[in-house]
């Protein structure tokens, strides 16, 4: 089953999963078919309930803007690097 979290993250993306789960968790919706969704998972969509199960309304996907990748933080210095810095030794 192809599922998508209904609430977007702060960057407009939706958590999603396709395979390994046969039910729709709370807060998620099922996606019918194999329609290619532009800029997936960045976008918005409408939800409809069929027999109590939430589904993404077909054709309701509005592609969002794909943000630039978030900057990767500088890695923490290793213990050796800290000691070398304290000793004034260049690695």
């Amino acid at each position: 089953m192809n599922i998508i979290e209904i609430a977007p993250l702060d960057n407009g993306a939706h958590r999603n999963q396709n395979g390994g789960l046969s039910y729709v968790p709370a807060g998620w919706a099922a996606i019918r078919g194999n329609e290619e969704l532009e800029n997936f998972p960045f976008g918005s969509f409408e939800v409809e309930y069929v027999d109590g199960v939430p589904y993404m309304v077909e054709g309701s996907w509005i592609p969002g803007e794909m943000p630039e990748p978030e900057p990767i933080p500088e890695p923490e210095p290793t213990a050796d690097e800290i000691i070398n810095a304290m000793l004034g030794v260049n690695a």
């Binding site: 993250l9 960057n11 993306a13 939706h14 958590r15 999603n16 999963q17 396709n18 395979g19 390994g20 789960l21 046969s22 039910y23 968790p25 997936f40 998972p41 960045f42 794909m66 943000p67 990748p69 978030e70 990767i72 933080p73 890695p75 923490e76 290793t78």
Partner: protein
Amino acid sequence: MQDRIPVNPGRVLITPENDSPAYYATMIRADNPTQEGTPLNKASLLKDTTAALFGLGADALPDDALATIKTLIDAERAHADTKAQIAVGKYTGTGKFGSSNKNTLAFDFAPKVVIIVKQGAEPNSTVVFIQGATGAMPSKSSAGDSSVCWLTWSGNSVTWYATAGAEAQFNDSIVHNYVVIG
């Protein structure tokens, strides 16, 4: 199971309701069937050889055989539940990372091993989560030890995050394929 073995086949005792003396008669079906049909007897319901296949004796009834079948089905079902299960799937990363933006994959069974491979990355980076482990190191990473994926296992799901970026968390905005074994 045993067939009835009459000394006088078809013989019945008729007792009139008007107090007349009872008398014997021989009853023969005279309905002119277009098809004789299958007789209800030992040969059609439960032969000794069939009963033996279930470990039952010659005196077993069809109901005993049905009960044995149900027991065997239950045992096989319990055994099947102990066999390894496998599922495959994919997700597209959201570009987020860190402990406040964890990834979660949920399954129909408790995962023991989850293998995630980035689709299209060259060479493909892979990470293997093993049930009970608190962390996993991707096969290819430019961020060194800080690219560890920190794991939380709960029932039928696994949750993880990394602090070294969305790529290290296997949550960059590309398709990630996974195989789960439970």
